[in-house]
Structures are given as C-alpha cells and as structure tokens.
Subunit: 287 residues, 2 copies
C-alpha cells in the first residue's frame, strides 16, 4: 500500500467537491495553488466554460484527469433512447478531448428519473436490462475511440433515481458478460461511500483485479446522514475504514489517483482554499 502521509502526489479532486465555490477555471486555479496534480471534472462544469477552454486550462495547468463525470443514465423509454445514445457518445468525445483515462458511468435508475419525460415504471429488473444493453452498445463506441468505461455502482439508496447498479458484484457481472477478455476497457469505479457497507466488497475487489479497477473515490459516511444526496463527509469525519478499502484495491495493483468526491451542503459553504487544504491534510492522515 502506498504511503500517502508525505505528499499528495496521488490526490485527485473531483470538481463537484467545490462546485458551488466557483466555475471550472476557479477550481483549476485553486488546484494549481495547492499543488494538486489531477482532477475529475463534471460535464456541466466543462460546458459552462466551453470544452475548448477547459481543454486549454487543464493543459496549461499541467493537470491530469483521473476520470470524467459522467456518462450513463441508460434507462429511457423509446422516445428518449436516441437522445440517450447521442448524449453518451458526446460525453465520450468530451472525455477524449480532455484526455481522461476513463469515463465514469452512473447508469441511471427507473426511466422516469434517468431520462425525465420517459414513461413511469416500477420495473427495476427491466431498467437493469436496459442498462446492460446501453453499456454494451456504448462499449463498441468506447473501443473505437479508445475511452475506457468505468461503471460506478452507487449506494442502494440511489437505486430508483440515479443508478440501479448497486453492488460491485453486479457491475462486475455486467463487465464479464460484455468484455469477457478483460481488455482493460471496461471496469468499475469503486467509491467508498457507495460500497463500504457491502459484505461482499473485499471479495469483489479481488475478483475485479487490476484490469477492472479503473477508478477509486473517497469521502466518508456521516452518522446521522442529514441529506441522502448532499451530506457526504470529509474523509475521517465518518465511519468508513478508508485505508482498509484502499489497501484491498492497491493489493490488486491499482496505482492510480485517490479521487476525492464530496457532495456536501456543509463543505460547499466553505472557502475553496479551506476545502482544498482540508482535503490534502485528510488525504495524508486518514486515506
């Protein structure tokens, strides 16, 4: 397991962590001031300043990406399927332009939430089948442009509205069916927030192995959790044994960034440099 206590070489900042403090240019400047070497930007933040400018700012700041957020939201009724497909291909093109190592897939839940306007359904098994079909189709495009897909299993609390892939086992089952040769182009993003509770997590990380482990995200689970979406914790403030999970991921050969992704009404209220410096100190002490 790598020693993170001395520097923050392997810290990446998911830009949603400070999304209310400023636009992507402000965030990139804050990263430069703090010596942060990688980010994972969100599509809406890129769109707000323009893709070309985002590409330039990332390059000029010598930043790497640890991923690009996000593709997915596959379940859709017939009327919304073409839009879903086009939207996902554009996301991959953007990831490519930004030189991302992978695109994170948040796969979507029931169609009415995944692609608003779609006819309502309570059939989560059908949504899951649509997700797998959607990934299989997008995977062909991903291979053609050389952009790996990282399926992010989300916490079961988001099964209805954000992602009906809720365990690492489920994500890896999809990977194995679509990419049986373990090409390295289809895998998972392990976020400790979404997976820490899973009794099968350690076994599934071993099953994933290096070829399937494309990204690693950290934050913490607060008790109580005041808001089901936007009360994620700064590492060390909650109950997750983060080093234990990082050790398992690194034991498989993962050697990429530990990406900090915190959706938090509390942390969004604080000055950007305070958030960034806290991320760095916690990365050294508790990740």
């Amino acid at each position: 397991m790598r020693d993170f206590s001395k520097d923050h070489r392997w810290l990446s900042l998911n830009t949603a962590t400070v999304r209310r403090q400023g636009d992507l240019s402000v965030i990139i400047e804050a990263c430069a001031r703090a010596g942060i070497r990688a980010i994972d930007p969100w599509r809406d933040q890129v769109a707000a300043i323009g893709l070309d400018r985002a590409v330039r700012l990332v390059r000029d700041a010598n930043l790497e990406l640890s991923g690009y957020c996000r593709g997915g939201m596959f379940p859709a009724d017939t009327a919304h399927r073409a839009t879903m497909r086009d939207d996902n291909r554009r996301a991959l093109d953007e990831a490519k332009a930004l030189n991302a190592p992978c695109i994170v897939l948040v796969v979507g839940g029931l169609p009415q939430y995944s692609r608003p306007g779609s006819a309502s359904s309570k059939d989560i098994a059908a949504a899951r089948a649509q997700v797998e079909d959607g990934i299989a189709e997008l995977y062909d495009y991903a291979k053609s442009i050389g952009m790996p897909l990282a399926i992010e299993p989300l916490h079961p609390a988001y099964a209805a509205d954000r992602a009906c892939v809720n365990t690492t086992e489920q994500a890896l089952d999809i990977c194995d069916r679509i990419d049986s040769e373990k090409s390295g182009k289809l895998g998972v993003a392990i976020d400790v927030y979404h997976t820490w509770w899973d009794p099968a997590l350690m076994a599934q990380i071993r099953r994933a192995g290096r070829e399937r482990l494309l990204a690693f995200h950290v934050c913490d689970w607060m008790v109580p959790t005041k808001d089901i979406l936007n009360d994620r914790g700064m590492m060390g403030d909650g109950v997750i044994d983060i080093p234990n999970i990082r050790a398992a991921v690194e034991a498989e050969g993962f050697s990429g960034y530990s990406e900090i992704e915190i959706f938090s009404n509390d942390w969004w209220e604080r000055p950007i440099d305070e958030v960034v410096s806290t991320c760095i100190s916690r990365h050294k002490s508790v990740v």
Copy 2:
C-alpha cells in the same frame, strides 16, 4: 398469490406506523374500529402501558400478533455485553407473553450506535461477527422458550447505526450456519423497503423457502426520500413493485400477514383513523 382486494384479513399494523398519534391502547382501539386483526407492537409502546395491560388489551381485542419489535443491537464492547444479553432475553420473554409468532431482530451496526457508550469502531466486519455470535447465543434461549427469531436485513443506508446485516443473502447465510436443519425457529423478516433494490432478492427469497420466511413488511420508497429514517411511503406512493415481491414470498408458501410498517413524519401528523383507513384501502389496491 392471495387476493387482497376483497377484505383486509391479512393486514397487520406495525404500531410504529401511528406511534405519535397515541399510546398502544389508543392504537388497539383504532384497530378494533377498523376490523384489523393483527398488530406488531414495539417494546417501548408496550413498556409505556405496562406488559400485563398490553397482554390484556391484545387478548380482549382478539388481536393476533404478526411479530414483536424488536430484539437485536448485538454489537457492544465488553462493558455493555451483559446488558445486551439480558435486554434481548427480556425482549423474548415479552414476545412470549404477548403470544407473538416471532421476534424481529434489528441486529445493530457499529458498537457505538448499537449500544451507546460502547467504544467507537469502524470495523464493520467485526460488528458482523459480533452479530452472528449474539444471534447464535440468543438462539439457544429462543429455542428453550419457543420463540422464533426473524433477522431483518435493513437497507444499507442503516449499516452504520442500525443493522450491519444488509442483504437477504447475508441474513440467510447466518441462518444456515446457526440452524442448518431449518427448524423454522430462525429465519428472516423481508421488508420491501429494505430489500426492493437488491438484485439478488428474488433468488434469495427462493433460497429462503417457507421455513425461513417468518415475516413480510410493506411500505414504499419515496423519490426523493427527504429523511433517511422517517420518510417511508404509504404503499402506492413510491417506486416499489410490492405485488411482485409478495408474489415471490407467497410462492414459497408464506401465508402470514402483510405487515404495514411506515416511519413517516408526514403520516405521523395525520389523524389515526385516516392513516388506518388509508392503509386498508392501499392494502386492497396496491399490495
């Protein structure tokens, strides 16, 4: 699958559903007015009016129980272990006095939340081991007094503070290790709220079979969920395909009550007879 559309013979009311509207005597009167034939009372509600009086009121109202809530909260540090053990035995004695068919076990999460005052831990694997040890020990007492134990897997959102048994598979694994002969004295309580998201649910219900299916609870999952504990939905108001899950449980031979358990700040604000009559109509139309 039984036809629930004609009457509410198989409706049981978990008394937490109307816990802010009155004490257990008020709730029992409301059930009598509505022709409800079974309840699942909570320990604190029984304690508030006294066990002897609760036993009398239940008997005089010709009520059955569908379960008794609850035993569990097994993880504890050394200083709190004896209290935990005694507390659970008393819970079983109360269940026996009330003639409950089983006691529901909410197994507890990390020790500092399960038994407050216990030393803090982030080791969820250790908590799970304590849970299994605690159930194994309590099971001996349960057999001696003839009180079946129903392990309730809780939604992963409660893994830290309420229950670190979070899937039906995990609960059944424990059952199989402790009671390999499937005696009917150790099984699971399936609550659609806690389990609907689980991709393995249908397979695990089949695995459980009749001997392990001791209780069936219904409510609904709201989108958005405004409060992680107390925003459960009235059946039909959320996204869960309840009949699909009930059909699976009944296909295994489950023929007990559909117990309505709704923790909801919204429904706790309404008059008790309105809540009860809504439960009855939804039981007929969407359960």
